[in-house]
């Protein structure tokens, strides 16, 4: 028997407007662009994908299940810019087949800089999820799957039963990501992303020069079925925007998604789909996943260099978190919310110089012409926030 466990990351940052040294107001965010992007992605991805998942749940009579990590800031933007997306998530929630994971409200790197801020943001996101869907999460995932033994211990401390991490080769070695593991010192289960099969969908699906193109539901079901005898669960973790946004509708990604559960369960009637909490409950850990150093799911390096790879990024992060005490001292909810929206990891990702010259995926997601422009803009905003916190 093989289980498939889906988890989709749903997130949109509050992008900053162009803010120069000549600006002094408190309107830092590009409302027009944020609403435009939110609605565009809703039309291309969130709405059709949610409909597709709902249809799958109905047609398989509850045997198809999946999970989502919804950041607080994307939920806020759905409320402001396209409430119909929230409605469609509510309909999914009503089926009982969908689970929402816990994470930081602002999709931040707070764990690295302030444990207090980290726990506050997780609590905020959990309150939001509870208010909207009445769920209390039992599985935690940190921003961009940033993980080490300490993150696992913190999640265990906060009462979570499982945590999600990248199935990084350099940690796993010869071992398979298709089992449940435990960290060395905390009582929590670790579910690891099967990055090969996840990336076959998320990155390679529409690539015509890929030797496996075109990827059909039947072919993928065979790969999943091969896990039988060497693992319990295939964890397919990816950006939800894979469907319709990164892989366009024309690639057939929605048809693939729709037919995949039938193919997986058809090839072997024991195969099934599980929510992360169900995986954690169903299987005992087979071994230890000892990860003293920080890993993530980003780039080929699977490290933090996308957010902390150069002097600008580390400076911006340090300066931002240095304001925590002063901002909180002010007890001004708007100031606090503004400051926290600057903690969203995307702002630091835009400052990444790693592949800048090659014009790759980093550039695609980057609203700035260059990482330098993004740093300059960010620091101007931060400077204004600092003046309000004085």
């Amino acid at each position: 028997m093989a289980s498939v466990c889906f988890y989709f990351q749903v997130h949109q940052p509050y992008r900053l407007r162009r803010y120069s040294i000549f600006d002094a107001d408190h309107n830092y965010f590009d409302d027009y662009k944020n609403s435009e992007i939110c609605r565009k992605v809703a039309t291309k991805c969130y709405l059709p994908a949610n409909q597709c998942i709902l249809d799958m749940i109905r047609v398989h009579e509850g045997r198809f299940r999946c999970s989502y990590a919804l950041t607080g800031v994307v939920l806020d933007q759905f409320e402001s810019y396209c409430p119909e997306v929230l409605d469609s998530f509510r309909r999914l929630n009503e089926t009982g087949c969908v689970e929402f994971l816990a994470e930081t409200y602002y999709h931040s790197l707070a764990f690295l800089y302030s444990r207090r801020e980290f726990e506050e943001q997780v609590a905020l996101q959990q309150k939001k999820i509870h208010d909207l869907f009445g769920q209390k999460s039992t599985v935690f995932r940190n921003t961009e799957l940033i993980y080490n033994n300490e993150v696992a211990a913190a999640a265990a401390h906060m009462g979570y039963r499982a945590i999600i991490a990248e199935g990084a080769d350099h940690i796993l070695g010869y071992r398979s990501p298709n089992y449940v593991y435990r960290p060395p010192t905390a009582d929590i289960r670790v579910l690891l992303k099967n990055y090969r099969l996840s990336d076959d969908i998320a990155f390679r699906f529409g690539n015509r020069s890929w030797s496996e193109w075109p990827l059909t539901a039947e072919k993928f079901a065979q790969w999943v079925n091969h896990v039988n005898g060497n693992g319990y669960t295939v964890n397919l973790f990816m950006d939800y925007e894979t469907f319709g946004e990164h892989q366009w509708t024309e690639t057939g990604i929605f048809e693939f998604l729709y037919h995949m559960p039938g193919a997986v369960m058809g090839i072997n009637h024991d195969n099934n789909f599980k929510k992360p909490s169900e995986v954690a409950a169903a299987y005992d850990p087979v071994g230890e996943f000892d990860c003293p150093h920080l890993i993530s799911w980003a780039d080929t390096e699977r490290d933090l260099s996308a957010w902390l790879g150069n002097a600008m990024q580390s400076n911006a992060l340090q300066e931002a978190y240095a304001l925590e005490a002063a901002v909180k001292e002010k007890k001004d909810p708007e100031l606090l919310h503004d400051w926290r929206r600057l903690l969203t990891s995307d702002h630091y990702y835009y400052m990444c110089t790693k592949y800048f010259a090659d014009g790759d995926v980093h550039k695609y997601f980057n609203p700035y012409e260059s990482p330098y422009d993004s740093y300059i803009n960010f620091m101007n905003v931060l400077d204004n926030i600092a003046s309000r916190a004085k």
Partner: protein
């Protein structure tokens, strides 16, 4: 490959970015094993300062006087200097125009030709590198003589070329086009013209029709056209009507190992320094630099703006700085030479090139090679090859000030720009540019064969 190359200037007879490019290109071609005959006008003593009444030698006189020589670093290059009044850029005093960097010297050895009478057997001259292509040719100063001289020069070049063996003619910028066309026609060789700048870059919309005509004729007569950037290629196709497929972009480069900059001790300074280094002419946008400086000083008083170089707008800029009330914060150094250039780079926190129209712009590469972060206008060819620099529209003074303030305020920004920028320019080598030119020669030769 044997190349008959027509330039205007070459170290040590250098005054513009064109000379820097010719130096880099021919040196690399020599290293690649190609043979170059480099023909250039040799200034006639006395003509530069008395250009109103030019004495034009006859063809016979010129031929009798031409100098042939080789340079130590250029194994496969033979130089032919034809006495001529052709001067690429005009200025009242050439010494105030030239910006000399570096400490390396090259040896000029008179060799054959019998000319150059009265010159020492060997002279050490500093290698001169200019901050960028300079325009500023004012036809008013020359009247019609310049065009007549270009024609006369062409005749001499043909006579000279008959005694040489080569595969292709390569002509740099408009003054050599008549000679290039004449040599190519007379000897039935393919012609490649190289556009380092156009009349539109130098003069905006106030183009000199006669120069434009010479440029246009050269581009149309050529088998292939080399442009120093896509920006320039677009001008060549849209303003001169050259078919797009005939134009190839070959970027300039920088010789990272050959500069031999002297290691200088760190300079202790209280103030931040923002540097403008280049000709102070309309093309270079000096007034935008000063307007941005005024805005920067509203946020940060502890900055000095240094304008190094001269040009026909120098006086106007000194006045403008005073009008803006920032006179005491702006330093006009005049022309800098030798180690002064290395020293000013060492002191600078940021180099700004606010050019209004810059076909390429080698100067930012030099700044980066001196570890100085760079802010360039988007209206420059060099912005097509540099990513780890700051870019603004030349007219966007607020954004220019915004970025200057950021660099001065945030050391990590400066550090990241410096580190990545210095690394990035190592990919821009003259060897690649030279090889690219050779590819274009082969295209031109093949096109000839195909047509025949």
């Amino acid at each position: 490959m044997n190349i008959f190359m027509l330039g205007w200037e070459f170290p040590p007879f250098i005054s513009g970015g064109l000379g820097t490019a010719c130096y880099g290109l021919t040196k690399a071609m020599s290293e690649l094993g190609h043979h170059v005959i480099f023909v250039l006008p040799q200034p006639i003593a006395g003509t530069v300062s008395t250009h109103v009444t030019l004495k034009t030698p006859t063809a016979q006189q010129a031929l009798a006087a031409y100098r042939s020589y080789t340079l130590r670093e250029f194994q496969n290059v033979e130089f032919r200097a034809i006495p001529s009044t052709l001067q690429p850029y005009v200025s009242p005093d050439p010494r105030t125009e030239a910006v000399i960097t570096g400490g390396s010297e090259i040896m000029v050895q008179p060799h054959g030709g019998g000319g150059g009478a009265g010159e020492a057997a060997s002279v050490n001259v500093p290698m001169s590198i200019l901050s960028g292509p300079r325009g500023g040719f004012s036809p008013g100063q020359y009247g019609g003589d310049m065009f007549g001289e270009a024609q006369r020069y062409a005749e001499i070049a043909v006579i000279l070329a008959r005694g040489e063996s080569f595969d292709v003619v390569h002509a740099h910028d408009w003054m050599t086009y008549p000679a290039g066309i004449a040599v190519a026609r007379a000897l039935g060789k393919p012609l490649v013209v190289h556009i380092h700048s156009t009349e539109f870059d130098r003069s905006g919309e106030h183009v000199n029709q006669r120069i434009y005509d010479v440029e246009r004729e050269g581009m149309h007569a050529a088998d292939r056209v080399i442009a120093v950037s896509t920006l320039t290629k677009n001008i060549v196709t849209s303003r001169y009507g050259v078919p797009e497929h005939k134009v190839e972009v070959v970027y300039n480069a920088i010789d990272n190992n050959g500069n031999g900059y002297e290691a200088l001790p760190p300079i202790g300074k209280e103030e931040k320094i923002v540097l403008f280094l280049g000709r102070i002419t309309m093309q270079k946008g000096p007034e935008y630099f000063l307007a941005a400086a005024k805005k920067v000083l509203e946020f940060n008083k502890n900055v000095r703006f240094v304008m190094a170089g001269t040009g026909d707008m120098t006086k106007r800029m000194i006045e403008l700085a005073a009008e803006l009330g920032i006179g005491q914060k702006v330093v006009f150094t005049g022309f800098l030479r030798g180690n002064d250039v290395a020293r000013i780079y060492k002191m600078a926190d940021l180099y700004v090139m606010p050019s209004v129209s810059e076909p390429f712009g080698i100067a930012p590469l030099e700044a980066l090679s001196h570890d100085v972060p760079v802010l360039i206008s988007k209206q420059s060819g060099v912005s097509e090859v540099l990513t780890h620099v700051l870019k603004v529209d030349f007219w966007d003074i607020n954004e220019m000030a915004n970025k200057i303030v950021a660099v001065l305020r945030h050391p990590p920004l400066q550090a990241t720009l410096r580190e990545h920028g210095n690394f990035e320019i190592q990919k821009l080598t003259w060897k690649d540019s030279a090889q690219h030119c050779v590819d274009v020669y082969n295209q031109a030769i093949a096109a000839r064969k195909g047509a025949a």
